[in-house]
Amino acid sequence: MADSREIVVTFDWDGKGVHKETFGFVGKACTEETAFVEAALKGNKGKRKFKAEYLHRKQEKITQRITA
C-alpha cells in the first residue's frame, strides 16, 4: 500500500515565519516523525494546533478502559 503521509511547509516572506502541516499521521507520530523540520530550521517552539487524528490514539485507550 502506498504511504500517504505528507508534510506541507509554507514559508512567510518575512524570512522567519514557517507553517508546518502534517497529513496521514495518527497519534504522536505526527510530532515525533516530523520534528526534524523544526530542528533543521532551528525553529523555536511556536503555536501548535492539533487535529482530530492526533487525539485518535488517546480516545482509543479511553474506550478500551470503559469496555474492559
Binding site: F11, K16, F23
Partner: protein, 155 residues
C-alpha cells in the same frame, strides 16, 4: 491532517545561505566563503566589519552589482547563527540590501535549508506557490522497508 505548527527560524546553515544568494541572482564569482572571518570593505575600501560569507562589490563594466557600493557579508557568531552586515550607506539609499531584500533572502535560506534536509533523508519533495504567493514545500514520507515487504517482493 494531524497537526499544524507555526514557528520562527534563524540562519545557521552556510550552504543554504549560499544557495539562497544564488537564487537571489547574486553572481557566483562574487560569493566568497571564509573559514576565518574576512574584512568587508566600503566604497572607499575602508574595512567596516568581518564576515564568513561575503558578497563582494563588483567593479566589472564600471558598475557595481545591482547598484551596490560596498561588500555585504554574514558573520557566524558563537551560537552558529549568521548575522548580516550591510554598510549603512547602501542600506540608507535603499539599494539591493534593503529590508525587503533581506527578508526574501532569509526566506529562500529557510527553503534551501529544508530542501537540503529532505535530500539528505532521500525524501521526494515539490516546490510551488500558494494562493498568497508563498513558497510551499510538499514532501512525501516513504514507508519503512520491513522483512514482510522484502519477502513479498522476492516471491
Amino acid at each position: 491532517m494531524s497537526h499544524t505548527l507555526e514557528f520562527e527560524t534563524t540562519i545557521t546553515n552556510q550552504e543554504a545561505l549560499i544557495r539562497a544568494l544564488k537564487r537571489m541572482g547574486v553572481p557566483e564569482n562574487l560569493i566568497e566563503v571564509h573559514e576565518t572571518a574576512a574584512c568587508l570593505r566600503t566604497y572607499h575600501t575602508e574595512e567596516y566589519k568581518k564576515a564568513h560569507v561575503i558578497v563582494r562589490r563588483s567593479l566589472e563594466n564600471g558598475c557595481h552589482w545591482m547598484g551596490r557600493h560596498s561588500d555585504i557579508g554574514w558573520e557566524r557568531n558563537e551560537d552558529g547563527v549568521f548575522v548580516g552586515h550591510i554598510d549603512e550607506y547602501d542600506y540608507r539609499i535603499g539599494m539591493v540590501c534593503d529590508k525587503e531584500w533581506q527578508q526574501k533572502l532569509y526566506t529562500y535560506c529557510n527553503v534551501e535549508t529544508l530542501k537540503m534536509e529532505y535530500e539528505r533523508q532521500g525524501m521526494e519533495y515539490t516546490e510551488s506557490l500558494d494562493a498568497q504567493k508563498r513558497i510551499v514545500l510538499r514532501a512525501k514520507f516513504k514507508a519503512p522497508v520491513t522483512v514482510n515487504r522484502i519477502k513479498t517482493h522476492t516471491k
